[in-house]
């Protein structure tokens, strides 16, 4: 079985401060990990993914994420938050070894950047 946990329903951060949105996973085999962002009344927008190689992945809008195999984590980070980063963030995992092509999503973390 595969699952994704986003332990924080809500994260608040002041504009200009670094932000972290946490994600941990549980899978059989090697995971492929994804982050998406969802703005109100809009679909999910892809931010970044980890497939293999360098554990630090850089993505859209200045976001990055670090794959940590020993801690089974894939936390999303940004050095300096913007008010426009306020949105709902989803971590997702896929394990190709299972033969499944779909993504398993976490329950989401709502990020609020305070001006």
């Amino acid at each position: 079985a595969q699952s994704v946990a986003q332990p924080e329903d809500q994260v608040n951060v002041a504009e200009g401060n670094p932000l972290t949105v946490k994600c941990t996973y549980s899978v059989s085999g090697n995971p492929y990990l994804f982050w998406y962002v969802q703005y109100p009344n809009r679909g999910l927008q892809f931010l970044l993914k980890y497939i293999t190689g360098d554990n630090l992945v850089k993505g859209s809008y200045g976001f990055e994420a670090e794959f940590n195999k020993s801690q089974t984590s894939f936390h999303l980070k940004k050095p300096s938050a913007l008010v426009s980063d306020s949105a709902l963030y989803f971590c997702a995992v896929r394990t190709p070894q299972t033969g499944a092509n779909n993504l398993f999503f976490g329950t989401g973390t709502r990020l609020t950047v305070i001006p």
């Binding site: 492929y32 009344n41 892809f46 993914k49 997702a92 999503f105 976490g106 329950t107 989401g108």
Partner: protein, 115 residues
């Protein structure tokens, strides 16, 4: 280029009625996915198409749900005898080949409300 489009954006229906939701994927993408997102939850997989065929329909909750993709492009999700529990946002995604490293690109979703 054009992204994934979904119509209608909103659909309100009465319990017991039949509904069709349409997805137009990114041109050239052979893989198409349907997900359902309930309030406060992450998207949950419903069905995956590779070309015209349903390669994985393990996420369909029951036989009231059916989807087609007759020409390998546009897909229609069909729900018979709708129930109030079917109320959710239905998301469609497409990817270039359906490979396990592929990025899935999502449409804006159709919000279905069953009264």
């Amino acid at each position: 280029g054009a992204g994934v489009s979904q119509t209608p954006s909103n659909k309100v229906t009465e319990k017991g009625k039949y509904v069709e939701l349409r997805c137009d994927p990114i041109s050239g993408h052979t893989a198409l996915y349907w997900y359902r997102q309930s309030l406060g939850q992450g998207p949950e997989f419903l069905i995956y198409f590779q070309g015209t065929g349903a390669a994985d329909d393990s996420g369909l909750p029951n036989d009231r749900f059916f989807a087609v993709r007759p020409e390998g492009s546009v897909s229609t999700l069909k729900i018979q005898r709708t129930e109030r529990g079917d109320s959710a946002v239905y998301l469609c995604a497409s990817s270039l080949t359906g490979g396990s490293t592929d990025t899935q690109y999502f449409g804006p979703g159709t919000r279905l409300t069953v009264l």
